[in-house]
């Protein structure tokens, strides 16, 4: 039996998985699907024809060298060691480095640049928090073991059981997570900014400034919610795409950060974004220490420039700024807006991925690799930044992302 395996699906990065042959213990349903045998890209391909790895790597390096400003996108589902090579590659070819955050938690990063963030590790949910708020996020479906491992039922040293935690859900509909909650507040879509602002007014003693109804909540409901927050010994707000992707975007996140700043003047409170992919945090952190910024980085002038909305993948593609693309461990063809996908179809695309997806269909060069966390090891960062080593638990004939990227980098530099 192999113990302490890290699940490489969501930002939970549960590290207590045990494998006995092909049977994995402690996996949630999504994790089980991740570890189950799935369709693989069989061999490297160039223009739809199977080729050797050497030929595919040669062609990939050629494309990157010839391009004026290639886009290197993806990264959130591979290891830091591969991401580092990706940033170096983007620098050496004068391209753009961007990662999945630019289409999910970018508003969180932008808000953090304005306000910082009051955070903590998931251990604070487990050990300390007696008030846990899920705002615009639904861990029961998106991060299934989050409630049991960390935030709702976990046995901590100060907060020892579910009974000692007040669990609050704020959302636009009654999600499965809402059924776990002590209190549920249903807000109108797109009203998060106003609700956060109203709560700040109450927390700061300016109740009179709050109208009778805000975002679908009565003033009394707002007051009761503020009361719960203020009575916390140690509170924690988890928030998700419901906050970042509704009207207001980074303004919403700024407002909740400010709410948490205010709450820290009365009690202790922290905030944690529910990050999706298992290493989306790493794909920002590695870029920050290598190039100074987390995403939307352009190297076309020989140094790093950061400009969200300009050097983010979707916008750069729609404007037609990129004349080639390398996609690593991601499927933009499935997730990007139509115009951006159309732009991808017009330029040479290199894909590095274990599994076929929609992007495979439009890729000119396809390089299959080992599955990170199953067939290849490396470092990943959990949603709270806690670093973990994912393991190799099965042998495979596929090379790792790191091996492929090292070879491409070598060819690009020489």
């Amino acid at each position: 039996m192999i113990r302490d395996i890290v699940c490489t699906f969501c930002g939970n990065a549960c590290d207590d998985i045990e494998f006995e042959g092909d049977y994995g213990r402690n996996l949630c349903p999504i994790g089980e699907a991740k570890f189950a045998k799935k369709e693989r890209i069989k061999a490297p391909m160039v223009d739809g024809k199977e080729v050797s790895y050497e030929e595919a790597i040669e062609r990939a390096a050629e494309i990157l060298k010839e391009a004026k400003r290639p886009l290197l996108f993806g990264w959130s589902s591979t290891v830091n060691e591969a991401i580092r090579l990706g940033v170096l590659l983007a620098e050496k070819v004068g391209g753009i480095y961007d990662q999945c955050s630019s289409v999910c938690h970018a508003p969180t990063t932008l808000a953090m640049i304005e306000e910082g963030i009051v955070g903590g590790t998931l251990g604070q949910a487990k050990n300390r928090a007696d008030v846990v708020v899920f705002w615009g996020c639904n861990p029961v479906e998106a991060h299934p073991r989050h409630p049991t491992r960390y935030s709702v039922m976990a046995k901590g040293f100060l907060t020892r059981s579910r009974a000692e935690r007040r669990v609050v859900v704020v959302d636009v509909r009654k999600t499965p997570t809402a059924y776990l909650a002590t209190d549920f507040y249903m807000v109108e879509p797109g009203s998060d900014f106003m609700v956060f602002t109203a709560l700040r007014s109450i927390v700061n003693g300016h109740e009179e400034a709050v109208p009778e109804e805000v975002g679908g909540l009565t003033k009394n409901e707002l007051k009761s919610l503020a009361e719960i927050l203020l009575k916390a010994r140690y509170g924690l707000i988890f928030f998700g795409l419901g906050v970042t992707h509704s009207r207001g975007h980074e303004r919403n996140v700024e407002a909740v950060i400010k709410l948490v700043q205010d709450l820290n003047r009365k009690t202790r409170f922290i905030l944690q974004p529910m990050r999706g992919h298992f290493n989306v945090v790493g794909s920002g952190e590695v870029a920050a220490w290598e190039a100074g910024f987390e995403y939307a980085i352009d190297f076309s002038r020989g140094y790093a420039r950061f400009s969200p909305g300009e050097f983010t993948a979707v916008e750069a593609l729609i404007r037609g700024d990129c004349d080639a693309a390398m996609i690593v461990a991601s499927d933009p063809a499935a997730h990007f807006p139509k115009k951006a996908v159309e732009s991808l179809k017009e330029i040479p695309v290199i894909q590095i991925d274990p599994h076929p997806n929609l992007t495979t269909k439009l890729a000119d060069v396809v390089i299959p690799t080992a599955i990170v966390g199953i067939e290849a090891e490396g470092t990943i960062y959990r949603m709270d930044g806690v670093p973990l080593r994912v393991k190799k638990i099965r042998e495979s004939d596929y090379p790792s992302d790191v091996e492929i990227l090292e070879k491409i980098l070598e060819k690009v530099i020489s």
Binding site: R3, D4, D15, D16, N80, R84, E91, K92, G94, T109, M112, I113, E115, G116, I117, V118, G119, G120, T121, G123, Q124, K126, N127, R128, R149, Y150, G156, F157, L158, R233, Y234, Q261, N264, R265, R268, I270, G284, E285, V286, A288, W289, E290, A291, G292, F293, E294, F299, R301, G302, Y303, A304, R305, F306, T379, Y381, G385, V386, P387, L388, R389
Partner: protein, 563 residues
């Protein structure tokens, strides 16, 4: 590896009592060797008229890990400054905060060859090593944080030195760390309750131990374990009027315990400037440097300056409650991170203004320590990035060497005249000699860290060498401009026997080693097994996933402590 002759340079090496003698130095296979053992030279450096010293050592700079990296992410306005374009070398970014390539290049260009990252949560050690592995040019090491770990409190309350030894050895091995860092002992735990601790004898919330007990047990355990570097402490009450008293009490704890077995000091007080204020309020705040310097000079304690540099920077420390206080004071953006049951931290941007009475006192206080503490006991630092960028070390050296330069800076920068009342700096006529400066940047930090092959030009030492383009015998405090220029423009930096900087520019990118201390033989590990299993019930990572393996590090070098 090649053979280098450094011919005819003016050598300064306090470890051998050499003060400006014309000598030849021979380098072979990364080490300093005798002339007879050198063989034929591959490279001869004509060092006539130049000064040859060991490579500089930064004992305390936050250069890697989750804190500086969160700071980078929060401050693109600081990162957008390009120091080097991509080419044969990496693109290097950042004005005060810098990317990993920039940190390595700037140390080398300043003649520094070793740097210590002084504070990582052990939980994040994998991350910190990833960043250290991305810093080229220098040797490095990291100190894991012990001062707010629940197991530390437990063993301190029980006064169990044996268990504390086992725990230190375990945690340093797991984090591939170098020694014991303590930040605001008990205060970071108290912050998780929205509080702080304010004296050494206050009980830590939820535990029986006091900060004094935490410090004393850790110091005793580190001495008994024979760690090369003893306890490295950021004192309680940092950054507030009255902190000088807490620092004095902390020093007295070490005085009571005594020196290390090998006669070296048993406690390092880091960035002492930030913990050296007298007074009760900001309005009557003053410098406690004169008294504290006297105390340091007669006790088994060493210090580094923590010199502030006028201008903007980003503060970052494990001292969560202090960062919250800064956030409230400046209404600025603020990152906080509470880390499991072991530590925490915060980040807040700040600007040091010469005209501000408080900042002026801080500036003067740092310099007082640099002038008043024995050169064998004080190290130059800015507590990067807390006081400012490490690239300003030549500026600090010049301030310490020239009273005239200090007077000029006070005049030109318009340093608030409150320093005349609140500090002794304006009346100090001490001027450090070049020999003393070499101590404070080379031999003294090497001695404090227990790195015997560093900070020296003795035969057998690592060939980490700085060659300055001036004759140190001819520079006078009067010509501070010449001095500053000379210290800023290194002629050569040699790292492990290779020329890595020539005429101030990077000549070659190299990768240094990461030192870590294996002390597990010095304590019975079994005695803490149950305690470890118990605390890991309250972690969100498995014990089996906690820590760093040597093979994950680029160039690890173990310093094994034999029992």
């Amino acid at each position: 590896m090649s053979v280098i002759y450094i011919k005819g340079g003016i050598v300064v090496d306090p470890t051998q009592g050499i003060d400006g003698e014309i000598m030849d130095i021979f380098v072979k296979d990364g080490k300093i060797v005798e002339e007879s053992g050198a063989g034929k030279a591959d490279t001869v450096i004509d060092a006539k008229g130049m000064t040859v010293v060991a490579g500089g050592i930064d004992i305390h700079a936050h250069i890697a890990g989750p804190k500086i990296n969160a700071g980078r992410a929060m401050r693109p306005e600081d990162m957008k400054y390009a120091r080097n374009k991509s080419g044969p070398l990496r693109c290097a970014m950042g004005r005060v905060l810098m990317t990993c390539p920039a940190i390595g290049y700037e140390y080398a260009r300043m003649g520094y060859t070793t740097a210590i990252e002084p504070a990582t949560p052990a939980l994040y050690a994998i991350h910190t090593h990833e960043e250290l592995d991305s810093i080229p040019m220098v040797d490095k090491a990291v100190l894991p944080l012990f001062g707010n770990w629940h197991l530390t409190f437990k063993f301190a309350a029980e006064g169990d030195i044996e268990k504390m030894k086992a725990f230190i050895a375990w945690a340093i091995e797991r984090s591939k760390g170098f020694g014991v860092k303590v930040v605001n002992p008990g205060g970071v735990e108290a912050w998780k309750y929205g509080r702080n601790v304010h004296s050494l004898d206050e009980r830590i919330p939820g535990f029986e131990a006091t900060p004094a007990e935490v410090l004393s047990t850790l110091i005793k355990a580190s001495i008994e374990l024979n760690l090369p570097h003893k306890v490295h402490v950021h004192c309680n009450n940092l950054g507030v009027p009255g902190s000088a008293e807490t620092t004095a009490e902390t020093i007295k704890l070490a005085e009571k315990i005594g020196a290390s077995k090998d006669g070296r000091e048993s406690l390092h007080i880091t960035h002492i400037q930030f913990n050296a204020y007298t007074g009760e309020k900001w309005r009557d705040m003053g410098s406690g440097a004169e008294e504290l310097s006297k105390l340091v000079n007669r006790t088994p304690v060493t210090v580094d300056m923590g010199q502030p540099i006028f201008g903007h920077t980003t503060t970052m420390t494990a001292d969560g409650p202090f960062e919250f206080a800064l956030h409230k004071l400046f209404k600025s953006k603020w990152i906080n991170k509470d880390v499991e049951i072991e530590t925490g931290g915060g980040i807040v941007p700040i600007t040091y203004r010469a005209k501000s009475p408080v900042n002026a006192v801080q500036w003067a206080t740092g310099l007082e320590f640099g002038l008043l503490v024995d050169a064998d006991k004080v190290v130059i630092s800015t507590d990067y990035p807390n006081g400012g960028p490490f690239v300003e070390y030549p500026y600090i050296m010049t301030l310490l060497m020239s009273r005239k330069f200090r007077e000029k800076e006070i005049e030109e920068k318009g340093v608030n005249s409150y320093i005349e009342k609140a500090t002794s700096l304006p009346s100090l006529d001490v001027e450090r000699t070049f020999y003393e400066i070499v101590k404070m940047t080379r031999s003294t930090p090497a001695k404090i860290l227990g790195l015997e092959n560093k900070g020296t030009l003795k035969v057998g030492a690592d060939a980490d060498i700085t060659i300055y383009p001036f004759d140190c015998r001819n520079v006078s405090p009067e010509d501070y401009e010449v001095l500053l220029k000379g210290l800023r423009s290194v002629a050569y930096t040699i790292k492990d026997g290779e020329i890595v900087v020539k005429d101030g520019e990077i000549a070659k990118e190299v990768w240094g080693r990461t030192f870590w201390v294996n002390a597990v033989k010095g304590a019975t590990q079994e005695i803490i097994e149950e305690d470890l299993n118990e605390v890991f019930r309250y972690y969100t990572v498995s014990r089996g996933n906690y820590g760093v393996r040597e093979e994950w590090i680029r160039r690890p070098e173990t310093i094994a402590i034999e029992e």
